[in-house]
Symmetry: C2
Subunit: 218 residues, 2 copies
């Protein structure tokens, strides 16, 4: 099954239409993300976090409508997003975890979210985790050979080695790459699919593949 | 001297007031960032990029008002931001380079910007480069022992090892850390200053220090 986690990042970056298409799936609300889900008519199975950006009135509403609320102190060993992903794994052992509302705003939080699947506690789930926002889908890969598919409404394709990488090869993308090795992280941005399916492979490290699109904003 | 580079990221994330305070400094406009500067009454010394997000009318205006415009094809070996930073270094050998408009929007572009100072061509300039947006200041550090200072209007302090790191120590921050070593990138987010000046040190790797603040948006 697929579990969706709504984190409390800027609402403007959450693709509402896609979220509503999943209203009958399983949702976990993290911090202010739980209130956002209720506002959009989705009742999460649980709300989790320190709720430091949730008002007293919003908290009362969560308590009246949700079966399970787990409150943690702001100074804790895990970020709110980590608590949400842990809860999803513990309760459902899902085969896909999509995280929404995890981008924008504070870069320290964005990077904590981006790097979450790389941490030891989540590494076995890394291939199952995606971050989704209005302009981006981020999916994580361990060494191997993969087929990847063009996504509707997305224009660009990128490969980012979040760790040192060995042997990254993009055989059939618009801008190919052969057996690239580097110790330094790099974003091979603005690549393109050349057909519905393309491929890539690498021997060591962790790669984030990013599907993205431009969205001109005022 | 200090050179400012305005990149073409979402305008909503560019702190206009801080930019205007620097209107008499040296500015380089990258792609649509050049038009944004003109809109705000600042005439950059040069405009650089593929200008794929600049309209014909905006381009004509740049040509009539700027002394130097360097146009590159969209498929090139460097990103627009890299071209801007190279131009700043070649023309001015500045002792500080602040990059604005480099966050938000497409994550592949944000990560390309975040990782720019780590690349071989820019590594000697790494300690002089900062990214600035409405909620964040990112500064880069090579191994050493440092004093860092609380910044006005910023609430949080974070340490992010963008590469494997050895011996990261935060001796006097709110949440201290002693001799931390890891091969995996991690964002030690939501830390706090305990006085106007705090300290940190590490032996190997590259650390991004992020000053940030919450900014509740609709």
């Amino acid at each position: 099954m697929r579990v969706n986690i709504m984190v409390g990042g800027p609402q403007a970056l959450v693709p509402k239409e896609q979220v509503l298409q999943r209203q009958n799936e399983t949702w976990i609300g993290v911090d202010h993300g739980a209130t956002l889900l209720l506002n959009w008519g989705i009742r999460p199975v649980a709300a989790i976090g320190d709720f430091d950006s949730t008002t007293t009135a919003e908290m009362a509403r969560l308590q009246s409508q949700l079966a399970e609320i787990k409150t943690f102190p702001p100074a804790k060993d895990f970020t709110d997003t980590q608590l949400g992903v842990k809860a999803a794994i513990d309760a459902y052992a899902p085969d896909q975890i999509d995280i929404w509302g995890a981008t924008g705003g504070r870069l320290d939080q964005l990077l904590a979210n981006l790097y979450l699947p790389l941490q030891k506690a989540f590494l076995t789930y890394l291939p199952k985790i995606r971050l989704v926002d209005t302009q981006n889908i981020v999916q994580y890969f361990l060494p191997g050979t993969y087929s990847i598919y063009d996504q509707p409404q997305m224009d660009y394709l990128a490969f980012v080695n979040l760790t040192p990488v060995r042997g990254l090869t993009l055989p059939d993308e618009k801008y190919p790459l052969v057996n690239w090795t580097d110790k330094i992280p790099f974003s091979w941005s603005s690549n393109r699919f050349t057909s519905i399916v393309n491929h890539f492979a690498f021997d060591e490290g962790i790669i984030a593949v990013i599907w993205s699109r431009d969205l001109f904003q005022p």
